[in-house]
């Protein structure tokens, strides 16, 4: 990982102001600390060496009180501003990621899993806090504050300033050396830790299955073993990190000790007043502290870094969007298309075409790429080879040259496993056809052989809630009705009758024929012979296997 990644500032505009504010507060804080040291040492020396009374030094005491009040205010502002800016930044980043992920049409959920994405966007982004609310500002603070404090020391005693100038770089040098030495080991460890941590979640998710197989007892021993392994591996990582801070602390302590020895000697032979010596020694640790803190925060920053890379893979995915605005089209054709998924052999889709007003069927064994072709036509994935062409009044366009939003307006789609947002059946159907009456919606449901009485609350039945009362078949029928309700030139149906009985299948076949006659092209993915029988043309996939 890089300690500083400018991409973060690009995606979260408020982060710049946030970091600036925190650094500013730290600098003002440093000035207050210098003032505090100066006044405190001054008072000590006056009581000790001049035997002055407390009441004779009211000005100094009042000034010291003012310094503490200032520090109290700064601490309050720091906490408030810090939290506000940090949550603003996280929200910005989260919205940005979700926007992008939405426009990618769920290709991220394919690589991460839906729960994976949700964990990334909630917990992952929260963990980034350690990086941008602590580590990143500290990087800047570590440059500014030591300089400010160092200069204030040098102004009172240039010899001490010189020693600090020479010893100060030791800390970042040691830090980088240790970091380089341990980086690869730590990085590898963090990755396996992620895997081990997921084990508990995996077990709980599959508990029903384990119980059904009577294997749940065996797993608690295994959970203990994995936990033990997790502990050992985590401790190895932590040991490195704690040893690093110990080493840096020792370097700082030795540097201050070096300073103390020279000051001690000069005090004993009278070449330095106590007020200067005490001032230097009280402030000296403050010079090294901010730099050491960088290394300490690095540890909490690493927590969030796993999320870091994943977030930027989503954010930096190129948006392939053309300019051609289509309002209608006639024929769709494609050359041989190739799509590769990680870890398995390439999916090859033979060339084909959909004539306007015709049903075109896609058949082939599972995994042969039927749904892949649907995803290509919907603009969710791009083939690695081959292209889709669309005929329209304005000529022939390649699919990648079309404005994707305008193109999607012309298509309706019934996915294999519909996922609904929270809302009633009526609301969800109206997204497809906004000005439809309830009666028309009921008709549309009857057309796909779903009786309104079969739905617990009729059109008001809630979909997308945690407790789903509808069967998978009913959900598919609603998705089919939705696809057919949308005014569109192409309807893509992915397994419309999987887990639906034969009676409905005949009804649906008639319905599709009727829709095609009205001029709509239909791309039909199905295993069912009855439905395939309605099609004017067929593409057979995976024929070579």
């Amino acid at each position: 990982m890089k300690p500083f990644d400018p991409r973060l500032l690009r995606y979260s505009r408020s982060s710049r102001g946030f970091i600036f504010t925190l650094v500013l507060i730290a600098v003002v804080g440093a000035i207050a600390t210098i003032g505090q040291a100066f006044l405190l040492v001054d008072l000590i020396c006056k009581f000790f060496q001049q035997k002055r009374t407390f009441s004779s030094l009211t000005h100094e005491v009042v000034a010291l009180a003012a310094v503490f009040i200032a520090r109290a205010l700064l601490a309050y502002i720091n906490d408030r501003l810090g939290a506000r800016a940090s949550s603003k930044m996280r929200n910005e980043l989260r919205t940005e990621v979700m926007k992008k992920s939405l426009s990618n049409g769920g290709s991220d959920t394919q690589s991460l899993g839906t729960a994976g994405l949700a964990v990334l966007v909630t917990k992952g982004i929260n963990n980034l806090d350690g990086y941008f609310a602590k580590f990143l500002p500290q990087l800047f603070i570590a440059v500014v504050v030591p300089v400010a404090v160092g200069v204030s020391i040098a102004l009172r005693d240039w010899k001490s300033g010189a020693i600090i100038l020479f010893t100060l770089p030791l800390i970042p040098i040691f830090g980088i050396l240790i970091g380089r030495f341990t980086a690869s080991a730590t990085e590898k460890k963090w990755k396996t830790l992620g895997l081990l941590g997921g084990y508990f979640l995996d077990l709980l998710s599959g508990l029903t299955t384990l119980k059904v197989y009577g294997r749940e007892k065996l797993q608690s021993q295994r959970l203990r073993e994995v936990g033990e392994k997790y502990r050992k591996e985590t401790m190895q990582v932590l040991r490195i990190s704690f040893l690093t801070s110990l080493a840096l602390e020792l370097v700082a302590t030795l540097s201050v000790a070096l300073l103390a020895v020279t000051i001690g000697l000069r005090l004993v032979n009278g070449s330095m007043p106590l007020s200067v010596g005490l001032f230097v020694l009280v402030l000296a640790p403050e010079v090294y502290w901010p730099i050491r803190q960088v290394s300490a925060y690095f540890h909490s920053a690493t927590d969030g870094l796993a999320a870091f890379d994943q977030l930027f893979t989503i954010l930096e995915k190129p948006n392939s969007n053309g300019a051609a605005q289509l309002t209608s089209f006639s024929r769709i054709s494609w050359s041989e298309l190739k799509v590769s998924y990680p870890g398995r052999s390439e999916v090859v889709i033979p060339s084909g075409e959909i004539e306007p007003g015709r049903i075109h069927a896609l058949v082939g064994p599972s995994g042969s790429g039927k749904s892949t072709l649907a995803s290509i036509l919907l603009g969710f994935i791009n083939p690695s080879a081959g292209e889709v062409r669309v005929d329209s009044d304005s000529g022939v366009h390649r699919l990648q040259d079309l404005d994707i939003k305008a193109w999607r307006k012309l298509i309706a789609w019934q996915p294999q496993e519909p996922k609904y947002p929270i809302g009633s059946v009526a609301e969800i159907l109206r997204y497809a056809a906004p000005s439809t009456t309830n009666a028309q919606l009921i008709d549309a449901l009857i057309e796909v052989d779903l009786k309104i009485d079969d739905l617990p609350n009729g059109l008001e039945t809630e979909l997308g809630t945690v407790r789903q009362k509808l069967s998978i078949g009913q959900m598919r029928k609603i998705a089919l009705a939705r696809a057919l309700l949308k005014e569109s030139s192409l309807v893509i149906l992915d397994e419309p009758t999987a887990s639906i009985d034969d009676i409905s299948e005949a009804t649906i076949a008639r319905l599709l024929e009727k829709r095609a006659k009205s001029g709509t092209s239909i791309l039909l993915i199905s295993h069912r012979e009855l439905l395939i029988g309605t099609s004017a043309s067929v593409t057979v996939l995976g024929a070579s296997q």
Partner: protein
């Protein structure tokens, strides 16, 4: 709470050792400041160097031991925290694994599991981030006050009181009226919304409600930001109070020191010690404001986990003996689901029988299966060899559920859940029945290929067949299959269903499916 403490108790030696070492490390910092302040003051009086020798040695000792003690304390502390975390997870898992499946049916939906995961991590903060730093600060405070008290008793007493005031006032301010300071609930909401959005992303783009979805997360984010801002306000208030009390304490220390020198109760060289030691004493309190502002959050997590940690009686499931033959009777079996129209069925199944439950979608095929397994309440009876089917009969029944889970481990480990003793040959044999043997052996890592989000991207049909192979590996007299041939094309269903039913020919089989199966099958249409 009591149960959580019991888990903590097992680690108490390590935990208290860590706090003690942490306190000593802070104490060493106090010692370092005190001895070096004395040393510098003494040096300015130009004494013979020998007088300084003891102080020089102590400065070195405190300087080195501060870091070493901190290192030891952090290692011990994290080690015990991780042990507690494992114990918590095991305890929760064991508790859940003793429940009936119907009791945790809602568990894998939405944020419930991720909430449990987070709460397990948060619960340990009660010790790690809250109690332990407070105790360590107390130890270091006592050591510093002892030094001041030894030099100037009256000053030590007053500073001791001020220190105690800070130790209680800071946590009080940081937790002030914090009843609504728990963001966990809203974070759960946000998690569910994001889950929903990412699941329905493709459809929202086609049906044009993508902006609608984005608006949903805005409101949850706003609520979280509001609570966080309130928490920060309290932590800021506590941090501010910290500096005010510190300033006041130092002023008081200076006043006592000045008076002490004036009245000859205090040697001049000790002024710096008295004035500077409070800085070191208060240093241990710096993590408290932020930590205590999260207290409500941590307690919320503990409360959420508490019922999961209760001692549960083992259900004492005694496995019934394996009978020579089985006769499974469904008598007027009627699953009860609110708002759904289901009907009851009756049937008798003996080895060699295949009962097919078929019907329209939504007719309740899966509900019947779930009722047989006891996952759903029902009226009527499920009778095995004359007695009601019970938990102890689990080893007699193998089930393929519609939402059967594939674990994030290798293909081999997933299949072995069906039969832990199966050899690789037997696994491949089962895969052959579902036409996956070639596919798996052609994978670069074969049976070791990982399944799940971090593994290979399996298609719906491939996952279904993997689950089916797992079912076939388990040897039980009764086999129940819920929609076993989903996501498969007609020809494959024909080939696989013949092979599967042939492999199960000696068993009592119940299949719920919208598809028709080969001949000689008893059929109930719902």
């Amino acid at each position: 709470m009591k149960n959580l403490l019991r888990l903590f108790k097992a680690q108490r030696t390590e935990m208290f050792a860590a706090v003690f070492l942490g306190g000593c490390s802070l104490g060493a910092a106090v010692g370092l400041l005190a001895t070096s302040a004395w040393l510098i003051s003494m040096a300015s009086t130009k004494p013979p160097v020998l007088v300084l020798e003891v102080a020089i040695v102590s400065v070195r000792f405190f300087g080195l031991s501060r870091g070493a003690l901190k290192y030891a304390s952090r290692i011990l502390e994290h080690n015990s925290a991780l042990k507690i975390q494992t114990a918590l997870r095991v305890r929760i898992y064991e508790r859940f694994s003793r429940l009936l499946p119907s009791d945790f049916a809602g568990l894998h939906r939405g944020n419930v599991l991720s909430q449990i995961m987070n709460d397990v991590e948060l619960a340990q903060d009660l010790w790690l981030r809250i109690a332990s730093p407070w105790l360590a600060a107390l130890i270091s405070g006592v050591s510093g006050i002892t030094i001041i008290h030894w030099l100037l008793p009256s000053c030590g007493k007053v500073i001791g009181l001020l220190f105690l005031l800070a130790m209680f006032l800071i946590p009080f301010l940081a937790t002030l009226s914090s009843s609504k300071s728990d963001t966990r609930k809203y974070e759960g909401e946000l998690f569910d919304q994001i889950l929903q959005i990412s699941e329905s992303a493709p459809e929202s783009l086609i049906f044009n409600y993508d902006n609608e979805l984005l608006k949903q997360i805005e409101s949850a984010q706003k609520k979280i930001a509001h609570v966080e801002s309130k928490n920060a306000q309290r932590s800021g208030l506590a941090s501010g109070a910290y500096f005010l009390i510190l300033g006041f304490t130092i002023a008081i220390a200076l006043w006592f020191a000045a008076r002490g020198v004036f009245t000859h109760q205090l040697a001049g060289i000790n002024v710096a010690v008295i004035a500077l030691v409070p800085l070191a004493i208060f240093d241990g309190m710096t993590p408290l404001p932020a930590a205590f502002s999260q207290l409500r959050q941590v307690l919320g997590a503990v409360e959420n986990l508490a019922p999961m940690l209760e001692e549960s009686k083992d259900l004492q499931i005694v496995a019934s003996p394996v009978p020579a033959t089985v006769k499974l009777e469904l008598i007027e079996l009627h699953p009860l689901i609110e708002g759904a129209h289901t009907r009851s069925i009756s049937a008798v199944i003996t080895p060699g029988d295949v009962l097919l439950i078929t019907g329209r979608s939504g007719a309740g095929k899966s509900s019947i299966i779930n009722a047989i397994l006891g996952f759903l309440p029902f009226t009527g009876r499920v009778v095995l060899n004359g007695e009601n089917l019970k938990a102890g009969d689990q080893h007699l029944v193998t089930t393929l559920l519609q939402d059967d889970y594939l674990f994030g481990t290798s293909i081999r480990e997933n299949l072995k859940i069906g039969n832990p003793e199966a050899s690789d040959e037997e696994l491949l044999e089962a895969l052959k029945l579902v036409e996956l043997d070639k596919f798996v052996s052609e994978l670069p890592e074969g049976l070791d290929t990982m399944v799940g989000p971090l593994g290979l991207n399996f298609s719906g049909g491939e996952k279904q067949r993997l689950k089916l192979a797992r079912v076939l590996l388990r040897e039980t007299p009764i086999v129940i299959l819920d929609e076993p041939f989903e996501f498969l094309d007609a020809q494959m269903v024909e080939r696989i269903s013949i092979r599967v039913l042939d492999a199960l020919r000696d068993k009592a089989v119940i299949v719920a499916s919208h598809l028709s199966l080969p001949n000689s099958v008893k059929t109930i249409t719902l």
